[in-house]
Amino acid sequence: MEKMANELHVLAVDDSHVDRKVIERLLKISSCKVTAVESGRRALQYLGLDGEKTSVGIDGLKVNLILTDYSMPGMTGYELLKKIKESSALSKIPVVIMSSEKILPRIDRCLEEGAEEFLLKPVKLSDVKRLRDFILRGEGDNEETEKKIKEGSSRKRKFHEDSSTQSMPSSLVTGHDIQSKPESSAASVSQQPLPKQPKIG
C-alpha cells in the first residue's frame, strides 16, 4: 500500500461550510492531507466510482479514510456509506460517520453497514487524533485488522462522544488524551492562557 508513513489522506464530506472548515483544520493539525467536499455526490465523483479504479482520487491521491456527515441533502452519509461498501474498488476504505444527533438506531444501522465509527458533533481534536492513530494502525497491519472486523461483525456500538470515554477495544487502539504532544512540529498550536474554564453545558 503506497502512502507516506504516518500521513493519511482523508476525504471529508459535509454540506455545512462551517463544519468543513473546522474538520479540515482538525485534520491538518493532525498531519493529515485533506480533501473536503460538500456532498455525497461530489465524494463519489472524486473517488471515480467505477469498478476498475482503485481508491485513488481524481487527482491521484489515494484516500485512506472517508469522514462524512450523516444529515446531508441529496445523499445522506448513510447512503454514501452504502455505495462505498457496495463498490469492490472502494469498500476497503474505512468510513466514519459524524452527526450532531445521537440516534441509536441510526448509529446501529451505520455500524452494521460497515462504518468504522460514529462521531458525535462537534468533533474534537482528540476524536480526530484517535481516529488517525486507529486508521494508521489498521493500514500498517491490514490482515490483522480485516480478521478483527470479520470477528466483530455483530459489533456493539463503539461511537464516541468525547475523549474521556475510551471505549474502543484496546486491541485496536490506544487512547490518546487531549493533552498529548502533537507528533509533528508543523502542528504547533499556541495556547492562550485561559483565565477560567467555563462550565460545559
Binding site: S16, V22, S100, V189, Q192
Partner: protein
Amino acid sequence: MERNHHLHRQLANLRQSFFDQGYLDEQFIQLEELQDDANPNFVEEVVTLFYKDSARLIHSIDQALEKHPLDFAKLDSYMHQFKGSSSSIGAKKVKIECTQFGEYCRAGNVEGCKRTFQQLKREYAVLRKKLEAYFQFVRQIGPIETASRPN
C-alpha cells in the same frame, strides 16, 4: 507597555464574559485551540462563515414562515442546519433557541415557531454584535502573548 497590558486584560475580561453570560460554550475554546501563528485568525474566519450561513438560513426561514400552511419539515431542516453551525462555533444561546424551534416544528405549533424564531433572531443579533466588537478589539491590540500549555 502598561497600557497594552491593561488592554489585554480588558480583552480577556470581555472574552470571559461571553462564557459567564452563556453566549458561548466550550466549543469556542476548542476552536481557539486550533489557532496558531500560521493560522492566527482561524476563529474569526469560522465565525465569519457562520454569519454568512446564518444570514442565508434566516432569510430562508423568514420566507418559509410566510407560507400557508407552514411546511414544518422544511423549517425543521433549515433549523437543523442552523443548529449545527451554531453548535460548531459554540453559540450557546442561539443553539438553545434552535432546539426550541425544532420542538415547535415537530409539534406543528405555528405560533410557537414564529415566536421562537423572533427570539432566535434577537439572540443571533446580540451574539453577532458582541463577536464583531470582540474581534475588532483583538485586531486593534494585537495577539495576546501566548504561554505554552503545561503538559
